[in-house]
């Protein structure tokens, strides 16, 4: 059975060009970039190139790029650094819909004496800017807001938010794991101090991330050790993955237009046809500015895990914000923050495309989804054929 992969916000295929660029570093070019000899030194040169490729995608300077092991490490480093260097300031601002890498960390910090404010979002997933403005205090050490939401693709006005923080002398970090490579980022002309990305979300391998640190930003390293990354992140470089990420960023820069035309067109068609063919379905965050590849669709009165497993029978890969798939017992915190009713939240499916998806895959998915939903609704106690949900379900 052919796999139809529409779960690219979870992880992406390593681009063939990326893999090819990496392979020599597992065999011939195994030197340590810190070594004095030419054999190791040549690797350092290639890392320098990769750093430039990453910087180019982000509109940053190469020396502002710190390689880490993943998005979570970058997020953690940024937030902890701001607190460690913040002259005792003990207040953190984030949104209610952050990724676990930020949300759980801040929850942990709140038990250790830090005060955390979670900015709410509206029903379309948009940040409450008034509440955000009010939340900034003289005690605020850092603001951490995701650039784009991993579940809905909704984009936050991070630049505007960063300006507001800057005016008050507050450090601003953004988790740009989902937006890097999908929408243009230009940090040269920005008030953002720190930004996190993750390789495997843009066709590089897993296990490599980046923390962008604006020149002149006060900083305390998280991993302390050797002089690697100019003392900002100890540990021998993950050479092959750094080379791979460099290549992936180069590709992303070149394919940015495609991402926002071809991929967006596929996404829009997928969305439009599913909504047309399945009654009582809706797009979560559909009224907001969104990533071009993400669509979060809710199907009333059915449960997400059941939908996913029936899709799995056809090789279709996606995600769900339902309780049962998350391993917790409550549906996605993002959909709950948006006030998506339970009738819809439990039956949400996230499709996230990439430039490797094709028209015929969209055809296949829009053909398969309606009978799946119909089958599950046929024995759902909340589904009324005339399309009305009974009172107990709302």
């Amino acid at each position: 059975m052919k796999t139809i992969y529409m779960d690219n916000n979870a992880t992406t295929q390593v681009a063939p060009e990326v893999l090819e660029a990496m392979l020599p570093y597992f065999s011939d070019l195994y030197g340590n970039p810190s070594s004095a000899h030419t054999f190791g030194g040549q690797v350092a040169h290639r890392i320098r190139d990769a750093r430039e490729q990453v910087a180019h995608l982000l509109g940053a300077s190469p020396e502002e790029i710190i390689f880490t092991s993943c998005g979570t490490e970058s997020d953690s480093t940024a937030i902890r650094s701001a607190l460690d260097t913040g002259d005792g300031k003990a207040h953190i601002v984030m949104s209610r819909v952050e990724h676990a890498a930020v949300k759980v960390l801040c929850g942990h910090l709140s038990k250790r004496g830090y005060r955390v404010t979670e900015i709410p979002v509206d029903k379309e997933g948009r940040l409450d800017m008034d509440r955000y403005r009010e939340s900034l205090t003289p005690d605020t050490a850092i603001v951490s807001l995701m650039w784009a939401n991993n579940e809905t693709g909704v984009i936050f006005p991070v630049e505007q938010a960063a300006q507001m923080a800057k005016k008050r002398g507050i450090l601003f970090h953004t988790d740009a794991v989902q937006s890097a490579g999908k929408i243009p980022i230009d940090l040269k002309n920005s008030a953002i101090d720190m930004l996190s990305i993750s390789g495997h979300k843009l066709h590089a391998p897993k296990g490599i991330g980046v923390l962008y640190l604006r020149k002149g930003t006060r900083y305390a390293p998280f991993l302390i050790g050797g002089h690697q990354e100019r003392g900002r992140r100890g540990g021998t470089e993950n050479v092959a993955s750094i080379i791979g990420l460099g290549k992936a960023c180069e590709l992303a820069t070149a394919k940015m237009v495609e991402e926002n035309t071809k991929v967006k067109k596929l996404r829009d068609r997928l969305e439009k046809e599913i909504l047309a063919r399945v009654p009582n379905s809706r797009v979560n965050g559909g009224g907001s500015e969104r990533l071009p590849n993400t669509s979060n669709i809710s199907f009333e009165s059915v449960e997400g895990e059941a939908i996913l497993l029936l899709m799995d029978e056809f090789g279709i890969c996606a995600s769900s914000g339902s309780a049962c798939t998350s391993g917790s017992l409550q549906p996605s915190h993002v959909l709950r923050a948006m006030g998506v009713p339970f009738t819809m939240a439990h039956g949400s499916i996230r499709f996230s495309l990439s430039r490797y998806n094709a028209e015929q895959e969209i055809d296949e998915v829009v053909d398969k989804i309606p009978p799946i939903i119909e089958q599950l609704r046929s024995f759902s106690p909340f589904w009324k054929p005339e399309g009305q949900v009974c009172a107990s379900g709302t």
């Binding site: 009165s301 059915v302 449960e303 997400g304 895990e305 059941a306 497993l309 029936l310 029978e313 339902s322 309780a323 049962c324 798939t325 391993g327 917790s328 017992l329 409550q330 549906p331 339970f342 009738t343 439990h346 046929s378 024995f379 759902s380 106690p381 909340f382 107990s392 379900g393 709302t394």
Partner: protein, 274 residues
């Protein structure tokens, strides 16, 4: 991704008895949309009290659908009395087991069956009696106690897996812990055989010989039982133990614990220096 058995997959992909029995005379509805799973069971019971037909409607994940399907297969053809005895564990067993986090699906099946049979008898189900412990999922102390008893649960995590209680904001975890402790205490009355003095001393000697001395000798040490006064066990450390700085630790953390565990919890070990 959950690890489901082939049987779960089979019942999920091709559910048996999905739908509603038209002339049902027993209906049980449990769960809610907010909780993430719900089950409506409709049964037709004949004059002799035999379950002639059973159908289900489920909103829920694969294991909730499979559990409901399995339940209807299990009860069809059974008498009301027989059906009543089916436990949630038996539903899970019928499916070759469920992931532990999904046991609540089998509990939901059992609850729906109970509700349907009460409905059949015209006895209103004593609904939601007791105090709500978990506000997030509306689970009462009585439901939690029942799950603990029937499934021999001993941790908050297990209680959550079976009842969902504690799976939301987690603020009820302390209460759940207290309920577990209370039920365990009722269930396992500590039966302490009354030991005569001579039995006690003999048992202490045996335990030292079998459980304690070999370990100490292994490290070049030894232990000698000097006397037993009430619950005070007087010992002397020998060999390497006699000069070891950690011997007090050894005594309290090893010798005393072993003796408390295997002879009598009240025992206190004291070292006698000569």
């Amino acid at each position: 991704m959950w690890e489901y058995t082939d049987k779960v997959k089979e019942h999920f992909l091709a559910p048996r008895n999905a739908g509603e029995v038209e002339d049902a005379n027993a209906v049980g509805e449990v769960g809610s949309m907010a909780c993430g799973d719900a089950l409506k069971l409709t049964l037709k019971v004949d004059e002799k009290g035999k379950i002639e037909d059973a159908k289900f409607q489920t909103f829920g994940c694969a294991s909730a659908i499979a559990s409901a399907s399995a339940l209807t297969e299990m009860i069809k053809g059974k008498s009301v009395e027989e059906a009543e005895k089916i436990t949630n564990q038996e539903i899970a067993d019928y499916l070759g087991g469920l992931p532990k986090e999904k046991m609540h699906c089998s509990v939901l099946g059992r609850q729906a069956l109970e509700a349907a049979l009460s409905n059949f008898r015209g006895v209103p189900l004593k609904e939601k009696e007791g105090e709500i412990v978990c506000e997030c999922f509306g689970v009462t102390d009585l439901e939690i106690e029942k799950a603990i008893r029937e499934n021999n649960l001993s941790s908050v995590e297990e209680v959550t897996n079976y009842t969902k209680a504690g799976g939301g904001c987690e603020s009820c975890h302390d209460t759940i812990r207290e309920i577990i402790a209370r039920v365990r205490e009722e269930e396992l009355p500590v039966v302490r055989p009354k030991l005569s003095n001579i039995q006690k001393i003999r048992k202490i000697e045996e335990t030292i010989e079998r459980e304690i001395r070999p370990s100490l000798q292994h490290d070049g040490g030894d232990i000698e039982l000097i006397d037993v006064i009430g619950n005070r066990v007087l010992v002397a450390m020998r060999g390497a133990c006699a000069v070891c700085k950690a011997s007090e630790q050894t005594m309290k953390n090893f010798v005393e614990i072993k003796l408390q565990e295997l002879v009598l919890p009240e025992l206190v070990v004291e070292e006698v220096t000569e």
